[in-house]
């Protein structure tokens, strides 16, 4: 699992979903949790490279989670940041697009505490494998 001392950015235009994700992260043990309301807000907060994990909604106004992911992956400083996309939409072509854009895990709403934890563990394994490659 990720080091729970990591600074985490939770991105969602819906306050309730940010609260749900943050609550689960706190239950897992994370303490340094920050929030952003869309991809643009998230980019402003993340561009200095201070976050060790990003969990972002996909479907947001102004700048979607996918566009934010692409910006992160295109930035030299941020490109290796573990990135999970959370979405209510899981059509195959969307999953394929997210994978192609470099997402580490794809969390489909609705999700339970356990399923988010499992996705985080899986993303951690993927990121660890990427580092050692």
């Amino acid at each position: 699992m990720f080091d729970t001392k990591l600074k985490v950015l939770v991105v969602d235009d819906m306050l309730t979903m940010r609260k749900i994700v943050s609550k689960i992260l706190k239950q897992i043990g994370f303490t340094d949790i920050h929030e952003a309301t869309d991809g643009n807000d998230a980019w402003e907060k993340a561009k200095d490279g201070k976050f060790g994990l990003i969990i972002s909604d996909w479907n947001m106004p102004n700048c979607s989670g996918l566009d934010f992911l692409k910006r992160v992956r295109a930035d030299e400083k941020l490109s290796k940041t573990p990135f999970l996309l959370v979405t209510a939409e899981a059509e195959q072509h969307q999953v394929a697009e997210a994978i192609k854009s470099g997402v580490d895990q794809y969390v489909v709403k609705p999700f339970s505490h356990e399923s988010l934890k499992t996705k985080l563990e899986s993303a951690h394994k993927k990121c660890a494998a990427r580092k050692s490659a």
Binding site: M14, K19, I20, A88, K109, P110
Partner: protein, 269 residues
């Protein structure tokens, strides 16, 4: 190197072309399509602007194999550059290019109806029950589905609204909650007790609507409805009344749940 993604559906197989179309992925693809059964094949072109000749040969092989079984192949989401390329190669008419999955399924005769029927409504009911259970630990069950009668208004204290937009029809889904029900659901979802609808939870009605819509959309789009992504909105106010902006029939579904009753209205024209 990633292979093409094959999804088997009731009447067809959907193949998502991989991002890289080279000799290696072509060889993998050729091995993947050895048994396509007696189903139509729909190829999602993705971001491709060009299909190499070895890939075209495999696609032709699929086309010929399907022809002997009385089945067809369609290419979908081909952008203008790819469409021109296929024309130049003289294969556009052979493959058959459809705009999207819905168009392809309609042309293949897999989807014929787009009316408000149980096939359209049922995914919303299933999604509602599933979403409330997983996200809020709330057990819900749908009551009798009925058509909304003229002059009858549905009221609620907070409602989530989302537009249902596709190439061929528009509509909306509204989920209206009495305050007590909504507070029960939100308290369960967030693990805190809420006694009034405040700024911390007001967008929860939109989020629930969004998740329910997303789940239903997956099922409906597999059937060819071609529903687009949408962003929900919320109306809050004691006993507010919402009227649909579309002219089609409105289906009303009352729900009972462990948090209390609520209503879903679905309208398409």
């Amino acid at each position: 190197m990633s292979a093409a993604l094959l999804e088997k559906h009731k009447d067809y197989i959907l193949i998502n072309l991989p991002p890289v179309l080279d000799g290696n992925t072509c060889k993998l693809f050729d091995e993947q399509i050895t048994d396509l059964e007696d189903l139509h094949v729909i190829i999602h072109c993705g971001i491709q602007t060009f299909i190499p000749k070895d890939w075209l040969r495999v696609l032709l092989k699929i086309h010929l194999s399907l022809k002997t079984k009385g089945k067809s192949m369609k290419l979908i989401h081909a952008n203008p550059v790819l469409t021109n390329h296929l024309k130049k190669e003289g294969v556009d008419a052979i493959f058959g290019i459809s705009k999207d999955l819905k168009d392809a399924l309609t042309q293949l005769g897999c989807v014929t109806k787009k009316s408000m029927d149980i096939e359209f409504v049922d995914p919303f009911l299933t999604a509602t029950i599933h979403v409330l259970k997983v996200q809020a630990s709330v057990e819900a069950s749908a009551g009798k589905v009925s058509l909304k009668k003229a002059g009858v208004m549905t009221s609620g204290d907070i409602s989530g609204i989302i537009g249902v937009v596709s190439d061929t029809f528009n509509g909306s889904v509204i989920i209206s909650f009495p305050e007590e029900t909504f507070l029960g659901i939100m308290s369960n979802m967030l693990g805190e007790t809420y006694t009034t609808i405040n700024k911390d939870i007001v967008d929860g009605a939109g989020e629930l609507t969004n998740i329910i819509f997303g789940q239903a959309k997956i099922t409906l789009n597999e059937k060819g409805y071609g529903i687009n992504t949408a962003i929900p909105s919320v109306v809050s106010g004691k006993n507010h009344i919402l009227s649909s902006q579309t002219k089609g029939p409105v289906v009303v579904v009352p729900f009972e749940s462990s948090a209390g009753p609520f209503v879903i209205e679905i309208c398409i024209e």
